[in-house]
Symmetry: C2
Subunit: 648 residues, 2 copies
């Protein structure tokens, strides 16, 4: 960060490769020279002060570079990204180089103080913050324009010179992790802290949520089983089950917030200050002065963006929704046809045929979701949002609305227009199970199989019979760079969200849904773990303090499910029979119960604190300390001023 | 703050009295000496470094002291309380003494840079933060225990040695303010910025809300008038009115958040950092170590408090609610009796008698509210909350629940049990109008009249015919110390909250309610202004960024009113007639409409940003600057370290 330490950085004696940079084949020499110089240059000269080494393979130098950093550089980088670590007194504090000695496990020669994932995150941060100074373009590529403050790496990526940057796997660590994670069949918790150390907080939090959610579904599943086993058709019991379900879902979502606070406090991300958000890589516009930062950067009119959203994206989404409903009507025609066929020639085959339309429809739904996903990404990217967070929010909103309708419209139609509870149960089961099987297959098993086949071919080409552990560095890099890229937890959360919908929206009709969800999630943990460890490139760690917009999405789903369940119960013949005289009384009672349940939900959400008491205390203590420190600082500053005034 | 400036503080040449301290008669000399010494003592010696002067009246020295401070001391105090002021470049920034020259209107000789209200707030803050050091008790009063860090002023207040501390009025400013505020009949806005300068942000924000709310009700009132004038009984129109009302109330509450952000940004309180909250004055317990601050202070077991809340307070509140319902039933008996009487001997008198039960009930409601208010305050104080904010939240919750039931239970009963729309309209009108008249009388006119009579008597005793402006300082102090104390905006907001209930809960039955509310609020502005300027002691300014829990209360009311209005419309015979075949369809339609309205409300609340775009930008800019400054600071610190390492 300052020159006084830079001499240490020249000692490349123990260079440890952390991150791989792959440049396009045929990249001009002058570009490579300029780029590598900027990476190793001193901070004071506007460089990143990192270490870089070309990868030498048997075929000579390819355009692949390994990036590392000295221990000191990493510590200073940890301060720059605002990392929070545990102190010797067990409290969590923001790491600063000057207070390094107060941290747990810190020693000048302990190079494991920062985890490898943290080191890689720091390097990524430093690379992304490598900014153009007076360059007008990337040397050798006049069309790749630069302006002061533009991130060089982002421009290299968007102009195709830089193909990818990815962190290296640590084969040894990975083997340990995968053994304790999914290597043996066991009942127990996942090694969340180890996952966090290896993959970072976002991914660890997803697995934490998956595990928590699975445990939380177990009571529902346990209560649901007897309904199936004893074929209880008694609606009294269904009412009880639904009521339990609705209150339970509120409780689990509230308790998750507390669990999440406990996890992220331990990991330090609960305390991490939000960094100032830079424009996202794809954002483009005419150069102008940003009124907030006062820096030159691309500007894009907010009105134009609004026009794009409301005149193009919104109509497109509506059209897609209409199309999805159209496909649904075709499904009902098919269903009718299958039913007619079954009536005409009753046989084992024909009764099996009854399930075929649902299965086809489930597959079609998955395909439509996939295609829509691409369209939504294209549209949201075309809307040209300035910030990544705003892009993500618009994308998630688009995808959630469509997936919700696409998955549940047919069930709503069967329940509230056709009033066919038997068909509802059958459809629900088929949709749920088919989508679960498809997802597990498409998401983990297929990529795993492809990867395995590819690896086998690679090895054959290399004429070696080595195991993964014995691979040389260049073999490892070459293998990893061809692996798929993990695109984030979006799809994984979406899958859980839709599953939550299947379980809770119609829980009083099909209590067994929770059982399938639990079974699916147990295998999901294993297949997702497999996918993370074996199929994809290692992703960069991403610090995060909560599951963000998904919390809101799950809570909204749980409010909607109160409404649907109340209506379903109200429609059941058994409840109907309780009000023989007047339908009015029935409907009014149902409405009253619904409002009561909603009120209880809101009161519960209000009353249960989002953070456990001890975390609250720890946060209060930190806040108190920082206020005290500020006071001290003001006092010290004034003393200093006083000192200067007297002695000069 | 530091010694280097303290020599300035001895220059008492232009002592301006800001705050009055009244000690009990017969306070021991040693106590007075110790207390005044602590007030004038240097910061470094643990004093407040303020100026203090005894008030000399014709009767000699009474135990009344005037407190002031040097200009420099006030500027340093402004930094300590974290005041935010406007800079020369029109941005709002936290004031620091070292950057004082960058602020608008700052000049070393401009003593109006800080408003008088700000100066008084600073002095109050400094007095309250005058803390015991090694004293074990207040000298002369062995029973008044002290411990290191205990606020001396608070202990003096709780042991009755200190009677009161209040800021002085500025007669000249007050005359100007009252003239522009309520002195002339005019259509226009209140001088909110002047109110804020004189009374502080909390009170100015209340008047801002009152004004905004009155303007916001005008569209409802305007639409409501023709319903009365043309005696429209057509329910189509009522439906339209109710729908408009429901959406409108959401819009006004959301827009208020934006208005509030604009006001408090201009006043600087939107940016003020929350200070660390000290235990409230009444909090008591056994001395222990606070785990957050590490300081010695009274501790009280949270379990004990919970027991008090759930085993005493909660049952008591329930009992009160039951009692309120019991009184309501008596009212209905009375109502029945009046009706019978009217039927038997029909006359002008008897038709007037029809209104008497409602009027009596309205008066009883007000009295019950008042008594309950005292009980709630006693109970909440007995619950022994550590923080003022927690005390306030528990008090507000208690009072809101009771007042809501007490005021609206009879209306709910009439509407949804008796189904008597005519009686509902009549009751609503009587309750609304009676409570408005009672409130205006009890809150402003009566105290004003009492105060005026008292002042007249005082003057007679002083044998003077001077006007307020010519009063000498000691006459002014003696007059003001006898004035009532303004207890905060709680009652004023509560009144508006209940009014909002009357207007919105049954708006489709009685559209004229909005008209009465508007008329009441216009006079309310004048009577409240009168009350602030003439009846009460000047209150200390209290910085605040929003109306706090009242926003939530108003929003909850607006959600409840969606439900009540939908039911009312569903019950009307005209809507009934639209569904001649099936009551079911009617109820289902009403339920559907209700859910749609609720969904629209939530989406609107979600979509309308809480802060206007330009305020968002300004906040983002400030955040960016503070992050940049932090980076600079770290860099500067490292440079300094480097410098030291090289030169030593």
């Amino acid at each position: 960060m300052v020159e006084s330490w830079s001499f240490l950085d020249t000692a490349e004696s123990n260079f440890r490769p952390l991150v791989v940079i792959e440049l396009a084949k045929g990249t001009k020499e002058e570009t490579i020279e300029w780029f590598t110089k900027r990476i190793v240059d001193k901070k004071a000269n506007g460089g990143a002060q990192l270490l870089i080494k070309p990868l030498v393979t048997e075929n000579g130098v390819e355009n692949i570079y390994l990036v590392g950093a000295s221990h000191l550089r990493l510590l200073l980088g940890a301060e720059a990204v605002g990392l929070v670590k545990e102190c010797s007194d067990n409290s969590m504090r923001t790491f600063t180089y000057s207070s390094r000695k107060t941290f747990k496990h810190y020693a000048d020669d302990n190079h494991d103080f920062l985890t490898m994932a943290e080191c890689q995150y720091i390097i990524k941060h430093e690379l992304e913050n490598l900014r153009a100074r007076d360059e007008k373009m990337i040397p050798g590529y006049p069309q790749a324009k630069l302006y002061p403050g533009k991130s060089i790496v982002r421009r290299l990526l968007t102009s195709g010179i830089l193909i990818q940057i990815f962190p290296l796997h640590d084969r040894e660590e990975l083997k340990k992790l995968s053994h304790s994670w999914y290597g043996r069949v066991k009942i127990g918790y996942q090694p969340l802290d180890d996952i966090r150390c290896y993959f970072g907080e976002t991914i660890a939090l997803y697995f934490g949520f998956l595990e928590y959610f699975t445990f939380a579904l177990i009571p529902m599943a346990v209560i649901g089983i007897p309904y199936y086993v004893f074929a209880w058709e008694d609606y009294d019991k269904y009412v009880m089950f639904a009521t339990f379900n609705l209150l339970w879902s509120t409780v689990i979502l509230e308790v998750w917030k507390r669990m999440c606070a406990i996890l992220t406090y331990r990991w330090g991300t609960l305390l991490m200050k939000r960094q100032f958000e830079e424009p996202r890589p794809g954002f483009h516009g005419v150069l102008g002065i940003n009124p907030v930062t006062g820096r030159e950067e691309p500007m894009y009119s907010s009105i134009k963006r609004q026009l794009r959203i409301y005149l193009v994206s919104l109509p497109f989404v509506c059209l897609c929704l209409y199309f999805s409903l159209y496909v649904m009507m075709i499904y009902f025609d098919l269903e009718q046809w299958a039913l007619d066929y079954h009536k005409e020639n009753e046989s084992n085959f024909s009764s099996l045929m009854l399930y075929v339309p649902s299965i086809i429809y489930a597959i079609v739904i998955e395909i439509m979701n996939l295609i829509y996903r691409y369209a939504a990404e294209f549209l949201t990217s075309w809307e040209n949002h300035r910030l990544e967070s705003s892009y993500q929010n618009h994308l998630i909103l688009k995808v959630l609305v469509f997936n919700f309708l696409n998955c549940f419209a047919s069930l709503f139609y069967i329940a509230f227009v056709m009033f066919d509870m038997k068909l509802l149960r059958q459809s629900l089961a088929t949709l749920l199970i088919t989508s679960q099987i498809l997802n597990q297959f498409a998401e983990s098993l297929l990529p795993y199989w492809l990867q395995k086949r590819y690896n086998r071919r690679m090895r054959k080409r290399m004429c070696s019979t080595k195991t993964d552990m014995d691979l040389s560095l260049d073999e490892q890099v070459n293998m990893e760079k061809e692996m798929g890229t993990y695109l984030g937890t979006f799809d994984d959360y979406l899958e859980l969200f839709l599953q939550f919908g299947y379980v809770s929206l119609f829980s009083c009709v099909y209590p067994l849904a929770a059982v399938f969800a639990v079974l699916n999630n147990i295998t999901e943990i294993y297949s997702d773990a497999l996918k993370m460890c074996r199929v994809y490139k290692r992703p960069f760690a991403e610090p995060t303090a909560n599951i963000g917009v998904w919390q809101l999405a799950f809570e909204t789903m749980s409010v909607i499910s109160v409404v649907t369940n109340c209506i379903l119960i109200g429609m059941s013949p058994e409840v109907d029979a309780l009000f023989p005289d007047s339908k009015m009384d029935l409907v009014l009672t149902v409405a009253l119960v619904e409002h009561l349940l909603l009120a209880i939900k809101f009161i519960m959400a209000f009353v249960i604190p989002d953070k456990p008491r001890d975390i609250q205390m720890k946060l209060a203590k930190l806040e108190f300390e920082s206020l005290e420190a500020l006071k001290q600082q003001v006092r010290a500053f004034q003393m200093q001023l006083h000192f200067l005034l007297i002695h000069h």
